[in-house]
Symmetry: D2
Subunit: 388 residues, 4 copies
């Protein structure tokens, strides 16, 4: 198998990141099957045509059903708004397409489960877009843990902090409406932390959470591009119906303690996706704003030179880096998607499920929902409650 044909639904932030990944993959990972950028779908005809031209897709369509049923497509890449994931994924699975779906997998746990069932029934591959797993520094953390070099894990603490909502004049964009976005910081940012915690530490047993919307009313949105938007505080206002910030504590099945925080009102943090893990033999820590670095500590270092090392994960010893530039030459955010698409292409070629897949998306969703229940009922909630 030399080429895999892709159709993609959605063309905004994630659509651009995915398009670029397909475009760059063959140049840097020539041994992987090459994705062919067949068709891109969006509701706005002019917009999607422009995107197709700019990003390099062969065709633009406005009806996702058409794309999903196109014979010359092997994979359907779903990065439409979250409320559309389920219907598209199930239809694509029924059409025998492999699925690559952005996170969150769906608005609810039951929807996510239906999606997995459909994929399994159709016997297709399914992947969910937790792209941070594919940062080389995080792969290094995974490797150190897997090899036992950090020992038994005691602590996981993580925060995904942004600050684009600190300004109370920032308008009421769709991401702040529950009916469209599902949730706020929790599902958008917290979901990434949960996935990383599962990837690095293991499954979570129980959680207790708290949540807040600090700015309860905002001016209605006039326009939005990326995370930028303009609002008019003298004009009409509307209610923010999602959380600005959600925190929770967790106990992992292996006995580790976890703390998680997601906020969009953490002034000074453009995109701090940071975690630290402390084990019986060492520690690792990561901050996405310095995504090429992993700080590593070992308890068995000589007693006069113990300290966190700043490892620049750009050496040949680090995953993926042979494909890029010499040591010390860093990569950026978009590279996580290239590595993610590499996993997708290789999994299809090798006839195995990619990682992370829909089962991972569901497990993340379970934790998200357990936190929601915990907040609503002001109590600890076991993940197992959601499986009954």
């Amino acid at each position: 198998m030399k080429e895999i044909q892709v159709g993609m639904i959605g063309y905004k932030f994630m659509g651009k990141a995915h398009s670029h990944a397909y475009r760059d993959l063959p140049m840097f990972f020539p041994d992987a099957p090459a994705p062919v950028m067949k068709a891109i779908c969006g509701r706005d005809e002019q917009g999607v045509r422009q995107a197709a031209k700019q990003f390099g897709w062969e065709h633009a369509v406005t009806d996702w059903r058409e794309l999903v049923n196109q014979a010359d497509i092997d994979v359907v890449d779903i990065n439409a708004p979250s409320d559309a994931h389920k219907e598209i994924a199930i239809a694509a699975a029924k059409a025998g397409k492999h699925l690559f779906c952005e996170k969150p997998l769906a608005l609810t746990l039951s929807d996510a489960r239906e999606m997995l069932a459909a994929a399994e029934a159709a016997g297709v591959k399914h992947m969910v877009g937790f792209n941070y797993r594919f940062a080389p520094a995080i792969r290094l953390a995974k490797k150190l843990i897997a090899e036992g070099r950090i020992g038994k894990i005691h602590h996981f603490r993580a925060a995904f902090l942004q600050d684009w909502l600190v300004d109370s004049a920032f308008p009421l964009v769709w991401r702040l409406k529950k009916e469209v976005a599902g949730s706020g910081s929790h599902g958008d940012l917290g979901a990434h932390l949960i996935d990383l915690s599962r990837y690095l530490v293991g499954e979570i047993d129980e959680v207790v959470g708290m949540s807040e919307t600090f700015v309860k009313r905002r001016p209605l949105a006039e326009s939005m591009a990326g995370l930028s938007a303009q609002g008019n505080t003298d004009g009409p206002m509307g209610d923010v119906t999602v959380d600005d910030a959600t925190s929770f504590m967790a106990r992992f099945a292996n006995g580790a303690l976890g703390s998680f925080e997601a906020s969009r009102l953490a002034a000074g943090h453009r995109c701090t996706n940071a975690f630290e893990i402390n084990g019986s033999k060492g520690s690792v820590r990561f901050d996405f704003e310095r995504m090429n670095e992993l700080e590593v500590y070992f308890t068995d270092d000589a007693d006069d030179v113990q300290g966190f090392r700043r490892v620049l994960a750009t050496d040949p010893a680090h995953d993926y880096m042979d494909a890029w530039w010499p040591p010390g030459h860093t990569i950026g955010f978009e590279h996580t998607f290239i590595h993610e698409v590499l996993e997708l292409m290789e999994a299809i070629r090798d006839d195995r499920q990619p990682k992370p897949n829909f089962a991972d998306g569901i497990k993340c969703q379970e934790v998200l929902e357990a936190v929601d229940v915990s907040i609503a009922e002001r109590r600890w909630v076991a993940i197992s409650e959601l499986r009954q």
Copy 2:
């Protein structure tokens, strides 16, 4: 009032730090009343004589009752083990002495309240030893918040992390026995975080916590000095009866969200007492391992140069620093005690209560106990419950 006569009970880690503070104060703060180091008390006669000589106390005694009733003593400094605080403090208050008591004020909230009542009945000054308030960088944080330069506070997140218990062969010292120490990381380290949160953010309304003892049995201790000790894993073992780590989430009265973590098993952290505060106009963050620095962010900086500033709090604009060295010349851990003792001396001179005082000790104790109840009952606990 030119001099204030001090008697001190206890002569180990805190006793040494306090002694040094009394010794250095007149040299660097000559305008404050000078403490006279009258008498030091300890149970081991040889030990306390040696300490008196080394630290510069006039007399050494072995019976704290004798010291407490000595006519030529104005202030009794209590840094004996926590389980002795109450009895000494009440006796000293009855003898009309001002009180300076190390944290935690007492083993229980009700004991702490009795101590405050005794001090108030006697009309004496009372201070509790939350020394971190006196780091210039933390004073700067306080100033920025008080002046509204950080805006309305949304987030407080703090962790006090140490690693001296990571080694499971570390022995069962007294700090790991509940009957002597009261609690583990929670009361020892978490108490400092709670006090800093109250100092900087305000009162806490409710909490939910979790706790763990990762290493449940340890070799019996053979010796201990400071936080160092030797254990023999082939010898007899005993149960650890305090927490290795305790975390909790909190809601503050002013609407801010808080997260707190204390651990003695965080590999690589010798003494990370760190917090970050995010407000509507900016953020501050601090790490005691770099205690001369405060990182500060302002949302109203010019849009092309927004970023956390590393402020070295050693300028004349920073509290206390005029008394020390030129800008850029840092101070250390022990200086927090000198500034603390300065507050004590000045408060006595000015006939006002020092800050923080026993009322602060009690409020800290309330939060500690609310967390304990929360852990035991697996639920959110309002601080007000403890006042009924």
Copy 3:
């Protein structure tokens, strides 16, 4: 003008970086003329065919004369070994092609001057590949300086440090042979520092330098890929004929003092291209290993919050970043080339010389050679001496 046709000579490290830049440009900067990747040239037929396929070039050729004279090519991109630059550039200029040449422009100053003369005679555009100018954080430094926000510049200190030659068993690759590479760290790394100093501070008046080859003999090279190679210390050895490290001090025309250091034996530095500039109103500093960041200090900040700010140059206020991802999402090494090619395309479209161009390449070369003379003659050398 919608498209500009490019032919490229060379396909290794720089060839890959340039190819990727042409490939990505239209996706992220759709308003710029799109480069058309017409032909790529290399001496090894199989290698260049494979590169053409992998990188996305239409044709592969083995004779650069053929490419240079191809009618459907507008720009010739020269990233062949340095000793080939001159002949190719002059031929391409004569054929009326615009020139994009990797640094160093040539092996000698007189060669470089001939190249500029040829380009000017032919009336073509000419650009030299000092890619670091195109890092957004460095653009920010330039902007702050240009706007007078740093004041009059007193100090420029810079170091380009790598460590791939620390291991004395690393073999004698071509970069370590003077006849092929021209020089060692000085021309390879120091050239970048000189260009940045000119870009940010201004012209240099005089220099004094020193140089060393710490490891004077190395095993003959068996293979090389990127900066990696294998050597056999039991096999035949050869002489290293270039510098391992070169440092020099400089006086700028505007009165600033400069210090420059380039080394390939600085253990722990994979690719530290770092500088700091101190002016009468502030300072900036940069380290390529954290290329998205610029540290900025202003003397007129409020006196209690003075400190270096860590500015993450990923905001809309920062050059180029609107084309990429939301604030806080970093970019990497390769993006400097995309921005560089953007300048080339826009300059051709606008019928102006791109910056930096061959005149900049010559001025860099003058400083490099003045340092060489200084080292040989153990004295200060004025740049003006090289113009006589």
Copy 4:
């Protein structure tokens, strides 16, 4: 020998630092001979009396000759202005007193040599005040180098940067007048770097330097305290007759290359005394603004976790730290003097010369003067030239 009696001349910045060291030594290093603070000398009677009282000296005198000849004094501590060092030291030596002299030892090399000759003729101990050698993190650097763990040294680069002269309205204090201060940044700050380079790397063979006075005229000084002062730019002005900044390059006898920079106009640097050393097996780096830390890199770390470690030099494995607080509890600037005085007391007790002593002061002075010659004559100068 239990006690050593000290007389001190000078009571400003260094006088305060030394007094505190004598005062604290017996408390933290009780096994060393205790300094007895006998007499302090200053020209201003009221000032010196106040200092004696505040710092804890038994007597105050205004005539240094009286102090130098006092029978009950064993050591004379000279921290008077530099131009008085020679006369005092020689007189004290003749009186049979041990000598502890602040740096720079004297205004000229020949003066310094006379001082050493006098000390040797008298058979007394002599020490020079290069206090940074006594920072635990720098001791760790020394240890790693001495044990061969950094390998053969290739590079030493150092900068001592301050910014108290950035403001051109800062007045013409005595430190800016050559006749009193001898030199500017070079002798004041550069001297420390030279001593550290000798301590850590070894002797310097030859140097080439440059120097600048950026602000050539300043308002006459009205008052000065520490490094702070007030000037009136509308009043009379005077010439600055010392260097604002001096840089030089050096070759060490062992083949290492050195770069040195001292400036008082480096905006944002309150007191950056920083160096980095790169060797064949690793690197170390230090910045005095974070004086408890040493960054350490080893080439033989496992290939996936190579990186600079931030070692907090507060563990029992680090020099002096057993005397202070538990790991992670930092010390400050003044502690370097306590450790320095410890060396002085122990050397006298053990009847050996302390380190660094006058011979070290002379070697530092040789390098300072060689740089001066180099600047004046615009050429490389061998240190050996100064010995002819």
